[in-house]
Symmetry: C2
Subunit: 598 residues, 2 copies
Amino acid sequence: MMTNYKAPLRDIAFAMSEVCDYQAHYERLFGADHASPDLVEAITGEYARFCENVLAPLYRTGDEEGCRWEGGQVHTPPGFKAAYDQFVAAGWPGLACDPVHGGQGLLRSLALILGEMSGSANIAFTLYTGGLAGAIETLAVFGTEEQRAVYEPPLIEGRWNATMCLTEPHCGSDLGLLKTRAEPADDGQFVISGTKIFITGGEHDLAENIIHLVLARLPYAPEGNKGISLFIVPKLLPVGEALEPNGVSCGSIEHKMGIKGSATCVMHFDRARGYMLGEPNRGLSAMLRFINASRVRAAFQGVSHAELGFQKSLSYARDRMQMRSLSGPTNPEGPADPIIVHPDVRRMLLTQKVFAEGNRVMLHYLAQQLDVVEHGVDDAQRRCAERRLDLLTPIAKGFATETGFEAANLALQCFGGHGYIREWGVEQNVRDARIATLYEGTTGIQGLDLIGRKVLANQGAALREFCDEIDAFRETSQVRSALVEHCRALSELTTEWQALARQISQRAATDANEMGAASVDFLMYSGYVCLAYFWARSAGAALSKARAGGDGASFYQAKLKSADFYFNHLLPRSRAHAAAIGNGGASIMALEEAHFAF
Amino acid sequence: MMTNYKAPLRDIAFAMSEVCDYQAHYERLFGADHASPDLVEAITGEYARFCENVLAPLYRTGDEEGCRWEGGQVHTPPGFKAAYDQFVAAGWPGLACDPVHGGQGLLRSLALILGEMSGSANIAFTLYTGGLAGAIETLAVFGTEEQRAVYEPPLIEGRWNATMCLTEPHCGSDLGLLKTRAEPADDGQFVISGTKIFITGGEHDLAENIIHLVLARLPYAPEGNKGISLFIVPKLLPVGEALEPNGVSCGSIEHKMGIKGSATCVMHFDRARGYMLGEPNRGLSAMLRFINASRVRAAFQGVSHAELGFQKSLSYARDRMQMRSLSGPTNPEGPADPIIVHPDVRRMLLTQKVFAEGNRVMLHYLAQQLDVVEHGVDDAQRRCAERRLDLLTPIAKGFATETGFEAANLALQCFGGHGYIREWGVEQNVRDARIATLYEGTTGIQGLDLIGRKVLANQGAALREFCDEIDAFRETSQVRSALVEHCRALSELTTEWQALARQISQRAATDANEMGAASVDFLMYSGYVCLAYFWARSAGAALSKARAGGDGASFYQAKLKSADFYFNHLLPRSRAHAAAIGNGGASIMALEEAHFAF
């Protein structure tokens, strides 16, 4: 009854090669012979098969069975261990890792692009592997040679797993409040004590060891964000070839709305042995690198959820017969027409499709910036990519996850009442998708990050630079008649976007709350502008092939039509956000706290 | 840990008495001495206590335990039977029913207004009582005297319960396809055979009997909607004082995303005895009365979910300390400020508040139209109310449930990651709220009903008449300086609303799909206009009391500020819907069905 996930390889290839020119990107960083198109295609296809054949069949059962906590042990759902073993055996954990420590040295963007597929096939499973990549990266950047030598190889193999331990019961968004203590031990190492919550994969039965990267405070550390250090705290301490117990235990797991196959753990550190990673009191900035990469990964989940819902609802809309087309029966022999003939069903399907495909292109672009930051040939190139990454990460995280959730709900809506029943799996997609706007920084946190740190802090320079990129695209594209309307819209948007930023800046100069009041509207507005740009680029990439005709042309014609739908039916939402920003924050702040309810 | 529901009696009284002038409405229908303000207040307060003390404590356990199906029997969650017994003992089922058959003869609007509270306290429980009211009403209108005498008294007592059986596996929105058969029996009655799905309360352990109102086809009935008849099919047949088995059984219950305490049943009718209700082949129009009332009831659930989420998130936002206010600490002694100081948290709280309170007023207004249709003193009055009810029911159902779901999600968002954990009950509210945009006609069905049957079918006359009402309010209100801006907006909106309807009509004349393509945008646009009207009326009702000062003034000042927030931050969304309508349906219809995915 339930549609099986099919990896959208054709569209991933379009985003990768035809819009973002992956091959040129590779060559720019490594020269011509680093990763051939054939190799990239083979890797992508292989991972697609793993997602379709191994992960997708565990999607529903993982939700139904969930994780079990028994006396400190966490049992993942049936089948997860075998799937993890296959994941490890195929070498997937090390795809984008340093070859010196056993990795394959491919680009980070490729790992992220693959992650979209596992996010669709089985997001709960995927969360056991996402933290791994982030931890390896953090070790690679901040670890000593010795630390890297001890921890990287088993993590890259996937024999060991890893977590990030940030949140505590009284602090999530505001890490400056954290209380976990790190006391110096006699041998120069540390003793870690405290409780962390919401630790994804904090304890489970998939790997032989789990390496926790823990934020904690040294004695006499400054208060707030500047007194936080980062520590490696293994579940089991590597002592020679042996693994010995450490003071790390899982107190319970959370009962959640969704992602039930992912163990969300309460972790107790009870005088556990820890090793400092990076410099004292600089833990939060070390973690920030990890956090930013996690945000890009979470943004990809918005695409995963939109794509999965789209596939399920498209399949249902083609099969389900209900009522006649308003313009005359399309299936006169049958009792009714398939519901895909109804304009509002098409609107819901197109909205999902256009968010999935548009956000996919945006994220491929963003993932390439990550590559350039890591491997760029010169400083100017790296710094430019860093500015782009800084600006677009909160937009992408906020916008792709919000619209991913909207898309998941539209998929359910296409099913009518049937969508509310568990067996179709489409309500699970809604529940699973709901976490994405919360973790790795809520949409509100992304909004503040965007307007405060990424736009106003540099007087709009990063925004101007990106608008210049859009304007440059527009100038070369507006001569193509099929793109004239899109380019006209882009021209107005880049002007308005910067004007809105200036308006917020001016108001915030006398009332800092104006920044917060506008933040999420500004984020969503920015998302709609970005998608306009990436849909215009997609249309530009499709145009000549769409006109060439022949068998392959219909794919490109669909791109042009999808772009039209975006500009006509979704981009107008930018009007609402711009107007809300224009109206200022006064009516948000006017109500006294005591008067919210009577 | 979880906030308990508190009935918003102050705000219900405001909507009821101060905006909608309930007392004048009563007097207009029944004369001065029918129901005193004291009586109405006493009833409302009593029901509020029942909701707070009996239903709310079963909210979480009902979700955790759910219903159990065992060999055809359905067991409701622990506590539901005792609560139902109290509901019956207090006489609540008969509140708005005919005194001749044991009812209390109060107005239907009062029952609906009370229903909002039980919908917040425990929507799953409430669904066992909602169908009861609808069935009693249908019997009252279409039943013979004999049928009324047999069925109404035990239903009004609540000793028996009732369902509506419409949906079948292959037809939901399109009832014309239904297959359940009704064959004449020798004694002039009928034998019913077929399977119905999604039957709310189809089988359970709350009442001694369940009366099913079943849509079925007579032999040789015309195809489609015009060949459907309505039948009374009791679970147990009343034979004298005894109850004897009938061919009715529950084959299974659905496993759903939410409302888990409500049994959603597959019902088999296997040569069950049935009695025709109303005329042959007129079943669908008989059912329509019921369906319309159910839609108003479902619309109230949008308020229920928005109110519940608002209460939970407001309480959390006052307690949770995280980060400092952008404009300087408000809680300098504490480790951080309560998150309600943050503008974006306020934006999320205000959005919920303004949807809950605005939709509440709209629905009180709508419920009064139901009263007038039923009890209006002359034909002209009744017909005017009917036109208003016809026009506003799809808007209210679609808009209040969509915004109710949005509000439920914003409540969860205020909690950050904690909202995703089951123990707070705020994710349950999201899951429970998700059904409301699906049942009693999806939002898409409401959209088609609105633009097709309610606007274009009468050449916009009903819309014009309602716009005239808005304009009349505006003309008398715009002289009040505090309302000038709201009135200016209303003036533009009533003009634009009718212009959009004309535009759709003109396009639909040559392409019927234009109607479907615009339908949901037109519905949501209409909702934002209606809420602008009802918020302007609320502000108008609050204005002089807000200025009077004194202890009570802060409630009214909050109304004025909430109205400002609505006009500045939510009404701008009408721009997006108007623009999408203006851009027409071409880009919705352009993509060939085969090219939705490759």
